[in-house]
Symmetry: C2
Subunit: 338 residues, 2 copies
């Protein structure tokens, strides 16, 4: 049974456990600093399929299979698959799970989707509606480019604030019981729109949403930021990260030394020509499901606040001159001593 604390935070009384996770990524991600943590690195952007969209869908399907295999579970152990992606109408997920006879909850939170999925999964388990949930998201550089920007063939120039959509899928299997890190609190964000209209500056657009959710989480829980070993934003990239750092400082919270961003971790920003770093809901999903989970299982990290951010625009609304509404959901992952 969950309880609420403060305005936006839910306390999970029997904190659901991260039973395990897996991540499959693209070639470029497999050339980055976190390569050895990923379960599989695919050879090309098509992954044996005929289109980028189908390749992304297969990333999700295979990542679920890999997670179940690692955890010694079968699909029939799962009560809900909670998943979404960046494709038009969330189709990577819908097509991925056609052959898995499990209740499916489709979600959309742009790049915040992984935290949204974990938040929902944790609340459903703690509330008794599920024993086990698969929380997953994916993104794919090529499907996202033609969905949100231009076809790859157009060869558009990248602006100084742009980011590189991660090709990859991550899955976390959450359960009622087990030995892994637990989700103790979730803070689901409200929509924040500070008027930024440049769809190539998502880090700048999303940083205020991350700030709002972090401050709300701290206020609701009575915690200070140094309660956490790591505050991990989803994909603000280097530009958004610097804005969030300043916004937090302006609000009397100093994140130095305990703040990182998945978008800055998954690529080598000096070497890999990704401008401000990674983005896409596959970014936080893969970094969390592979690298962070490993560090938590090794007790190198014991308290992590995942704050995945999403830019909730579409090409249509941007073409109509609108700004970018953003959101950030926070999930508190903690190793709790037995």
């Amino acid at each position: 049974m969950s309880t609420r604390t403060g305005k936006q935070t839910v306390v999970l009384s029997n904190p659901p456990v991260v039973i395990g996770g897996a991540a499959i990524v693209g070639k470029k991600e497999g050339d980055g600093p976190l390569a050895r943590y990923f379960d599989q690195i695919i050879d090309d952007e098509y992954f044996g399929e005929k289109t980028f969209e189908k390749a992304e869908s297969r990333l999700l399907r295979d990542t679920l299979a890999k997670t179940l295999e690692k955890c010694g579970k079968s699909a029939q152990d799962i009560d809900f698959i909670i998943s979404g992606d960046l494709q038009n109408q969330c189709t990577a997920a819908s097509y991925a799970f056609r052959d898995v006879q499990v209740s499916f909850i489709g979600i959309y939170g742009a790049c915040s989707t992984m935290a949204e999925s974990l938040a929902l999964g944790a609340m459903l388990i703690d509330g008794g509606a599920a024993e086990m949930t698969a929380c997953m998201t994916s993104s794919h550089f090529c499907s996202a480019e033609r969905q949100f920007r231009y076809p790859l063939e157009f060869g558009s120039q990248r602006t100084p604030t742009s980011q590189w959509t991660v090709t990859g899928a991550g899955c976390i299997l959450l359960g009622k019981q087990g030995n892994g890190p637990r989700i103790t609190h979730v803070t689901c964000g409200a929509i924040i729109d500070m008027g930024i209209k440049d769809a190539n500056n998502m880090g700048g657009a999303m940083a205020p949403a991350a700030c709002d959710t972090i401050l709300r989480h701290l206020q609701d829980t009575g915690r200070s930021l140094d309660y956490y070993d790591l505050v991990l934003t989803g994909d603000l990239g280097s530009f958004g990260r610097s804005i969030l750092t300043r916004l937090l400082k302006d609000n009397g919270v100093d994140p130095e030394g305990r703040y990182e961003d998945c978008g800055c971790m998954i690529f080598d920003l000096e070497r890999q020509d990704v401008v401000c770093g990674g983005s896409g809901c596959g970014c936080s999903a893969t970094v969390l499901s592979a690298y962070i989970l490993e560090l938590m299982n090794q007790k190198k990290l014991n308290r992590v606040l995942l704050v995945a951010t999403g830019a909730l625009h579409s090409p249509t609304w941007i073409q109509q001159g609108e700004s970018i509404p953003c959101i950030a959901h926070a999930v508190s992952l903690e190793n709790i001593p037995e």
Copy 2:
């Protein structure tokens, strides 16, 4: 605290209550048989905005305001807004709630979204994560046509199995306590794809998903279909309704006399030139939030199984030759004697 029964059904131990609801619809819907139940009928497809997409977003925003006004509540009483729509990247909802400082959970289930929203809201309330949720969806004929099919200016012919996307938004305010009908069970569907590739035959594509979820619900709960006064599909339309009727009979369940479809109710199929009837997630949302809720409050209906169905395709995947994955979520609404 919720419990599970059978493979896909959740029993809500303290069934959340429908505190109230509202629906705002377009001119064509306001010319249909249910006109007098709707809270507002807008004059034109633009609703004072410059684009169809913005008009749809305003439908959601105004429907929330109307619901809160009718229920004597304010936005700050709501713990979660759970909402989605058919626009590319669910933008009607994301843009609608930019100025409402409430935790937002974005969902996507195509035309099944209203049941998905109610299912999630009910589980979150019963599990203690929320005291009150606003469950909402919208669709808009003009934004859906250019999103899924062709621009209106193209003047495409409608095929014999086509449906007419409802312009409208519906909102149900769910709470822990109150006097309205209660949500006692939810059965979240698995994805079903029977290989239909015609995006103008969504009723036919979705009917097997509705059948699967209804049979699953009956099996999980041990109920027979005549437990319900009304089984209400979201928007199969007349063609899909006839297929579902046959599929249920083939499985030994006779729905005659207690089965209706929102898509066949919201328009006069003889007079209004909508071919097989209404569709879009605004269809079940407005029929439920206005007409069905009124009948339940008057005790003319006491046990309703809402089964909203969704076609989870996108234009991209259809152009790539794929079939249509479908889903149906069921929510059991019951007047429970004091």
